[in-house]
Amino acid sequence: MIGQLLLNGTVSGLLLALPALAVSLTFGILKFPNFAVGGSLTLGAYAGWVFNTQLGFQIVGASLLAAATVALVSVLLDVAVFGRLREQGSIALMVASMGVSLILENLCRFGFGNATRSLDVDVARPLRWAGLRISHEQIVTAAAVLGCLVLLHLVLRTTPLGRAMRAVADNPTLAAARGIEREVIVRLTWAIIGLLTGLAGVLAAIDRAVEPLVGWSYQIPVFAAAILGGLGSPLGAVLGALAVGLSEELATLVVPTSYRQAVSFAVILLLLLVRSQGLLGARAVRK
């Protein structure tokens, strides 16, 4: 029983890790909490659904295409909206990202209605291993996320792009003085953020269903994970996501499942009471 909960919590935590990473990267490099993540997840879910059921791609191809779609949309949004608001400071960006989230979610609702749709995934019997039920979707999710994390880690740690991103996050002025084009790095960051949320959107659709509110339901757990890890720390975001996923699963032992979504809110509150800089973050308290 507990073992099953731990397994489920780990997998749903892994699913949260991708959008939490996206939020963390946005915060580190662009210095604002990106509330557009909910809308981006929904867009990813619908893009995956279109490529998969309407255009006949297999789920892997459809996921990659959905990730590419959301990446493209994210870059375009930076050109059209966020790039122009950078001078207005983080609060304007934050409110704008909320507006963008609404736009993306309602574009999907306008195009496809409120009906719940599902992806065309081969149904397989769950594996039984050491008394645990491991579903096919859980294996797919875990493999996809872990692959993504390894890839992202390599990009951030070993490539010139990763070095430039870390430099811009640490000290944009110094990075600019060393000849790093901030705008280019920012656009590439948006592309990475889009890839992460797009893929996570498809995984969320496999986990739940394709409907307009699918992304919104992840908004608070994702932020809980990102804060838990200390905003701006990629590794922290992954650990935070695992912690939130596990607490949501384990909380079902003590609170009714209908309050599952409130668990991540409780995690945020507790954390702010106890340790406000997050697990691995060194966020300076500003005031």
Partner: protein
């Protein structure tokens, strides 16, 4: 037609209250609140549950007090940190309120909500004039709240808040109690959201969780951005205009019969999103900017400064 007009005006009045509240928290003090719908819902439910027990006036006060208290609690948790945390905490709070309303059926009636909420003075007024009377009540409430908030904005308290919003470090270096002031500002806004919820409950006479959603919150943000952050008069104009536009979309169905309910809903909510983004891009200062006091006029002698800027009260201590 008259009945419809009265309805629209009451809805505008409620929306204006919500907007005024957010304008105080965000426009004036720079505190982002993504949980507006949650605070309004709290006020509405408190009013619905308490009016039959203690009467409408005490119930309204309780609604305002409850919202203010919870605002203080959330502010205390996160206000020491950067603004981003308050935004995230209030977002979570809004969702938590929704879950409680849905799941604690013994108190809130769950998804069905609460019906038969008595209106103020209901026994004194003939039923055919009930909506008119309520409109009068709503307008009076907006007037009172407007006067109080406007006085607060112009008081030394409001001035320090704006100084904090624009540069907390300088304000702190002038020995202003930054945290306490911010918590107070958030509580004042919360109280007004509670009142807006009370008004909503009186007008609808039945409430359920589906009436307090993202559209309430996003609409309030759009009203504040449109009106010009920090300007209460601008907010009244902004709130009225946007509400009329939103209500106008109800007629879309007659104009374009091909649209279904989900598409109309998507147009309304998505339209608010587009509005927020476009306003931020095109008119970040809003319709009416808050009055800019020129440094020179503050340094001149007070009589002349007041003559130059009619928006200032006649004599004011030089606080800044």
């Amino acid at each position: 037609m008259t009945a419809y007009l009265v309805t629209i005006l009451v809805i505008v009045a409620i929306a204006t209250l919500v907007g005024l509240a957010l304008n105080f928290q965000w426009g004036c003090a720079g505190l982002v609140n993504f949980g507006v719908a949650g605070f309004v819902a709290l006020g509405a439910y408190a009013t619905a549950l308490l009016t039959p027990v203690v009467g409408w006036f005490a119930a309204m006060l309780a609604a305002a007090a409850l919202s203010a208290l919870l605002s203080v609690f959330l502010a205390l948790l996160s206000i020491r940190l950067a603004d981003d945390y308050l935004a995230i905490v209030t977002l979570g709070f809004g969702e938590a309120v929704r879950l409680v309303l849905l799941n604690e059926g013994w108190l809130t009636g769950g998804a069905l909500g609460i019906a038969g909420i008595p209106r103020p003075f209901a026994s004194l007024i003939a039923p055919e004039h009930a909506d008119f009377a309520l409109l009068g009540f709503a307008v009076a409430l907006v007037g009172i709240v407007y006067i109080i908030l406007e006085a607060l904005v112009r008081s030394p308290f409001g001035r320090v808040l704006r100084a904090l919003r624009d540069d907390p470090v300088v304000a702190a270096s002038l020995a202003k109690p930054v945290l306490i002031l911010r918590i107070k500002a958030f509580a004042v806004g919360g109280a007004v959201m509670g009142l807006a919820g009370a008004m909503h409950a009186f007008y609808m006479t039945y409430i359920d969780p589906s009436q307090f959603t993202a559209i309430t919150t996003s609409y309030a943000f759009m009203a504040v951005i449109a009106g010009g952050r920090g300007s209460n008069t601008g907010l009244m104009i902004g709130a009225g205009t946007i509400m009329l536009l939103l209500e106008g979309t109800r007629f879309l169905k007659d104009l374009i019969p091909a649209l279904d309910g989900a598409q109309i809903a998507a147009l309304r909510l998505g339209g608010v999103g587009v509005g927020i983004v476009l306003l931020l891009l095109l008119r970040p200062q809003g319709l009416l900017r808050e009055p800019q006091r020129k440094a020179a006029s503050l340094l001149a002698d007070p009589e002349r400064a007041d003559a130059a800027d009619p928006s200032l009260p006649a004599s004011h201590p030089q606080e800044i």
